[in-house]
Amino acid sequence: MTVQEFYDEVGGDYNEIMSRLRTEDRIRKFAGMFTRDESYLSLVRCINEGDADEAFRAAHTMKGMCQNMAFTRLYKSSHEITEVLRGKDLETAKQMLEVVTEDYNIVIAGIEKLLAQ
């Protein structure tokens, strides 16, 4: 799988990330870091525990990383949940978490394939 194919599959912007990181090697390295980041896990945990403030922070961090990585689709859903959590609306956030999880899993699965070669 090429980096270009990976970005198409996860709903990201290949041109944007190339303009920022310049080399595919570097993109791979950063993708690896993305899988190690625990913001998503923290988001899920905090929503379940009802900690709106920490959930907001986790969502915000996730959103920021997606922006940097040009994971456009996951950026959109994490951006939306961030805004809902900014208003401390845990109920709506819970419903939105499904979409976020779906987008997140696609990205993680894609990265695993990308790095498997």
């Binding site: 944007e16 303009s19 920022r20 990181l21 310049r22 570097r26 390295k29 950063f30 870091m33 993305f34 190690r36 980041d37 913001s39 922070r57 915000h60 961090t61 959103k63 920021g64 990383m65 922006q67 940097n68 990585m69 040009a70």
Partner: protein, 366 residues
Amino acid sequence: MEAMEKNTILIADDAEINREMLKFIFDEQYSIIEARDGEEAISCIMENSDKICLTFLDLLMPKKSGLDVLRFMNEADYIDFIPVIMITGEATDETDEKAYEYGASDIIYKPFAPNVVMRRAKNIMELFEHRIYLEQKLEKRTRQLRESREKLERSNEFLINALSSVVEFRSLESGEHIQRIKYFTRLLLKHIMEMYPGYGITEEQAALIVNASALHDIGKIAIPDSILLKPGRLSEDEFAEMKKHTMYGCELLEKFKQDDNEFYHYCYDICRYHHERHDGNGYPDNLKGDEIPIWAQVVAIVDVYDALVSKRVYKDPFAAEEAARMIIDGECGEFSPEVLDCFVNAKQELFTMTEDEFSFADVMVR
């Protein structure tokens, strides 16, 4: 630029990816230190403040936010020499305004283009380096100026003291009268400035007045020995001649008139009016009340006090308390209520000075 070894960039962000995103832009040219939250950022800054040339702060971090770190840098004055670029996901007017208010140099929004970040960072670092360099240069110049001014002031004081003691030397006094007049004038002016700020006397003016007070009797240089050194009371004619020392002093000063120089005017007024009295019974111009400049009024009362507590060929010294009483009771002519007020307030300090500060070589008080 001197001693520029600051070559470390601090990157504070809780997400590794975001830190790396900045790190790869700068790590070829700079050393990088990373902080994962606000508290780490603060300790990094405290430990490496002499090395850090730029700090990137993520807005939202655990423990302490980017704004908290910025506020800390502001309160601890780090912000004056470490530029800060805030990194944030979205622009909100409120946080942007706060960030700038606490001294952030710039705000960069995610996602950012590496070459733009690099350019902006370099501009900011250059600006800071340059500003710090200019400040150091300015500080050095200011120090030099201050030093040369102090030197000049010391030389001035030396010349004034030398000049004013010429008269004393001639009248075979020890020269300490001048020093006492200056001390007493300084003391009374302090009280005037505290109690009557309406006169508008500044510290700087007070210093000039104190120096000018040393010259109050400079005109005595023109009084003949037969009068100046007479071992006994003066006759009426002799006293009339003695009184002219106020005018002689002015004549002398007018030869070197400096109309635009405040100091000249203090010297002139003090020479001429230090024997005037509030009720118009003084000399040489019989000025009344406010017509007599306040600096001349101060030297007048101080001169009387010193004359009372000093030994003269024709009189023994009065004790300090007795001298003060005579002045307050108007036995030495009338002084303005304000000046008397200050004199009463300054009395105790005046007594202490009279007893301790000077060796009254020519005087035995008590």
